[in-house]
């Protein structure tokens, strides 16, 4: 058997080998502690690199970047500065949308409408019998994802699941793809109805409780209004999925 050369070992760690070659390396590793140690160190480096840079994925997006990509919005008009000069197109700042502290309730209606409009364009929300329902990746995440098995790379993060006084199951979620939104979805015969959807800081990748504590106030209020008893633990959540969220 040929010895394992450095290039092969590196390709093994990076998942670039076909099954037969990978099996050959596996066999060599089982018999060679030094080789296994090198693989372990390379894997550690890979893991630490991901740990060093992956948190960027969960950072809130700078508005100047997401604003460049808003569809059919008048944000391409340069902001006129006090001096009457147009802002430098390359360093344009987006207008601050829906973040005014005093604009509370009236704005939240427009805000929900805007959020729905945007997500409808992305196939995450569908209007049906007058109300918004989850569709596409959001519907799939609500059907399949478990908060007890978080996936930091999934476009939708699930938070709390619980049963309402009426007997429906509701789940909180955060849409990580920009612009980040959090909401509540309640399972009905027609699908996942969305009573509330609000702008959000991107979800922490991780704990159930953290996700709950970082919910926007509108979503938290919707949860408080419906929650009876306790939120599901991992076992109850899994059982609810097995039962089709009924």
């Amino acid at each position: 058997m040929n010895p394992i050369d450095d290039d092969t070992l590196q390709a093994y760690v990076d998942g670039q080998l076909d099954a037969a070659e990978a099996a050959r390396v596996d066999a060599a590793l089982a018999q060679d502690d030094a080789l296994a140690g090198r693989v372990r160190r390379m894997r550690t480096l890979n893991t630490r690199l991901r740990a060093a840079f992956d948190p960027v994925l969960d950072e809130p997006l700078p508005e100047r970047l997401s604003a460049l990509l808003q569809p059919a919005r008048p944000n391409v008009a340069p902001i006129v500065l006090a001096g009457g000069r147009g802002a430098d197109a390359g360093r344009r700042r987006a207008p601050r949308r829906w973040l005014m502290p005093g604009a509370a309730l009236a704005a939240s209606v427009a805000l929900l409408a805007a959020a729905l409009w945007w997500h409808a364009g992305n196939g995450l929300v569908r209007m049906r019998s007058g109300g918004p329902y989850a569709s596409g990746a959001l519907g799939r995440a609500l059907d399949q994802s478990l908060a007890s098995e978080p996936d930091a790379h999934a476009p939708v993060a699930i938070g709390l699941s619980f049963r309402t006084a009426e007997g429906n199951i509701c789940r909180t979620f955060t849409i990580r793809t920009p612009p980040a939104r959090a909401g509540l979805a309640c399972h009905t015969a027609a699908g996942w109805e969305l009573p509330v959807l609000a702008p959000s800081a991107p979800a922490e990748s991780g704990e159930l409780r953290q996700a709950a504590s970082s919910l926007p106030p509108a979503v938290q209020a919707a949860v408080d209004a419906r929650l009876r008893g306790n939120v599901f633990d991992a076992q109850q959540e899994r059982a609810a999925r097995a039962a089709g969220w009924r």
């Binding site: 390379m42 690199l49 060093a52 960027v56």
Partner: protein, 163 residues
């Protein structure tokens, strides 16, 4: 379907990954987001050149890599901010090694020579295959693997004994 709309939507979905790539390339968060802004503007301006059968992420990553190289060249002309390749590698086995080990890994990446940094960013951070990275960088696959091996050796030295 207007291709610019498709590109715009795709860029929005890609934005977190694009920011991660830029952070690995440019180091500082502010520099990285400046790079991302340039990339978005270029990608939107060239939306007509994107073919829907080509993966948008590779297309945008190539724009990002080239924009970063442009930026390096512009800075290099202004001031010699970036050490030549040999100096970058000397960090691994020179007397600076103890100091270097105390640095965060991200800083160690930022000190890699550009040729090494871009393969680390594309393959180890973004998860491209060797073939994809070679195509994007327009170099042979063997060049990608040899740069990767040397970058690994440098970074491994930074991690030190606890690795």
């Amino acid at each position: 379907m207007h291709s610019s709309d498709a590109v715009r939507e795709g860029l929005l979905a890609l934005l977190p990954r694009l920011r991660r790539l830029a952070r690995a390339l440019a180091g500082q968060a502010a520099d990285a987001d400046d790079l991302v802004q340039v990339v978005l503007e270029r990608a939107l301006a060239r939306a007509g050149q994107w073919r829907p059968d080509a993966a948008l992420d590779k297309w945008v990553f190539a724009i990002a890599r080239n924009a970063w190289r442009d930026e390096l060249r512009a800075r290099g002309r202004a001031q010699h901010l970036f050490a030549p390749e040999e100096a970058g590698e000397a960090v691994a086995d020179g007397s600076d090694v103890r100091h270097a080990r105390q640095m965060e890994l991200a800083q160690a990446v930022a000190m890699l020579p550009p040729d090494h940094r871009e393969v680390v960013a594309l393959v180890l951070v973004e998860g491209l295959s060797y073939d994809e990275a070679a195509a994007l960088l327009e170099v042979p696959v063997g060049t990608v693997t040899s740069r990767l091996a040397r970058a690994r050796a440098t970074l491994q030295a930074h991690l030190g004994n606890d690795a």
